[in-house]
Symmetry: C2
Subunit: 328 residues, 2 copies
Amino acid sequence: MSPFPTDPDPRDPGSVEFADILAAAERISTYVHRTPVLTSERMDALSGARVFFKCENLQRIGAFKARGAHNAVFSLEARAKAGVLTHSSGNHGAAVALAARNRGIPAHVVMPEGVSAPKLASVERLGARITICEPTLAGREAAAARLQRDTGATLIHPYNDPLVIAGQGTAALELLEQEPGLDAILTPVGGGGLLSGTVIAAKGRSPGTRVFGTEPAGADDAYRSFKSGKLTAMADPHTIADGLRASLGPIPFAIIRKGVEDIATVPDESIVAAMRLVWEVMKIVIEPSSAVPVAALLDHRLPLSGKRVGVILTGGNVDLGALPWMGA
Amino acid sequence: MSPFPTDPDPRDPGSVEFADILAAAERISTYVHRTPVLTSERMDALSGARVFFKCENLQRIGAFKARGAHNAVFSLEARAKAGVLTHSSGNHGAAVALAARNRGIPAHVVMPEGVSAPKLASVERLGARITICEPTLAGREAAAARLQRDTGATLIHPYNDPLVIAGQGTAALELLEQEPGLDAILTPVGGGGLLSGTVIAAKGRSPGTRVFGTEPAGADDAYRSFKSGKLTAMADPHTIADGLRASLGPIPFAIIRKGVEDIATVPDESIVAAMRLVWEVMKIVIEPSSAVPVAALLDHRLPLSGKRVGVILTGGNVDLGALPWMGA
């Protein structure tokens, strides 16, 4: 998959500037929600910090991914009319479908055989054209390449794309408007789009705010890449946080290694406990990926005691019929 | 139980004026959240209306009851220091406990033998003194009377109290500030505190806004009282909406019969389906009682097609280990 799937950019294609995030915020403002920031005395007491939860689970399509997809789709120029393409069957797939519908152009989503019925239905409901492929990376890439050739559609990468990164950065930009002067912002890290966008947003808007990544211990390639300074792919991720199994992308990594304060890892047991606690105490539905930074706070894995901490709750798409605390 | 448990009021003790709601809003503002209003394209499409969800499930203690309890507790004068008392083991019990803690006075909560451990823990965590009684109405009332005699604590009724009603009315007052000019507001009705407070708030702030009650078919005493014009108690309620099993109180009824447009009833199957849909689509945790007005909208039981409709989502306190759609 090309690392630069969108229109050529006259600048260094790997760079994202604060101005790009400001432009993204403007570009996407009519299509995405300004999500609320919630607080909870009990979560504060349990974490020992003052925590501000940016509720991207309440975002369109139930995830922050709506931001990056809209920025990428609405940045397309002449090529737009041929449509857009992705092979994510998760939140990014739904986000691209929604953004294309809002722009009035076709969206093609490649999904593997055996994809769950609710995932398929949610992308179909958004008007995307679905192509079912063999459930392997090779099958997916072949199907995407064929579609791209046949339709001329532009591939929107879920994270290794400066426009997607700039879009994701608008969540932190908003959070820092809603709660100025935070000591820190925590996000989960999978492919790195959100974490890298958050770095650029924080440096531009609030240079004193430190940015931390949080990652499942069973998919800790970002942690290892950050510590070694060398991008290391994740061969065999094992975590309940299905949104974070992707390997860190090279464009996000270049931003993260320079701008992130530290990355903490948390085990799946802590992720599930944090997820259930947020549902119970805060009355919001979050998916396991969203619970990763919460788990890091509750387990005191970062030096944030007494600090004002923003947490980006990334999404709320879960199968309510198969919750991790239900008996098998 | 006395219908007028709080300090004597020089006016007609059954009356609640719009000014009382404005005063309540001022009195409680530092203790309760200004809850967000959420919208959802998909909920609009399914209901055929434009719906604004006032998220009192995100309120302190996870329910709008925090409003009425704070208004009643902070209105007490000399008697306050002897503390307050309630025998609700649900949201009102937690609300009174929190309000008393915030005022720095004792709270006594009478709970029946066999009350669930999470309910007990949540009231205990708020610092209330718990008295366990026999699980009958007589046992509860005897325990409350004894406590009242021994301590001098003031009983805070969950709904048949003008100050509680005025506090509950602040939810609709806020909603009408956040979304002016709504065509209608829907609330569930159990004892009637929220519905009657909503009537007073709407008449005062937005006379063109019609107020509708919604009630489980298995606990339809408000519906029957409204239709017959005669207050009829609920002998044997059967509904999953545990917050709505109480019988309508006389003070709320006097307000409701004059000011409510209509009351719709919905079966439990519709309540559970609406509850699950809200979790899935809107990513928020609501309890069955909150789903009652949503079910009325989804089942098109009220003439609201194409209208701008406010719905008060009353609470989010559920046992996550025993959701109604989990297998037995």
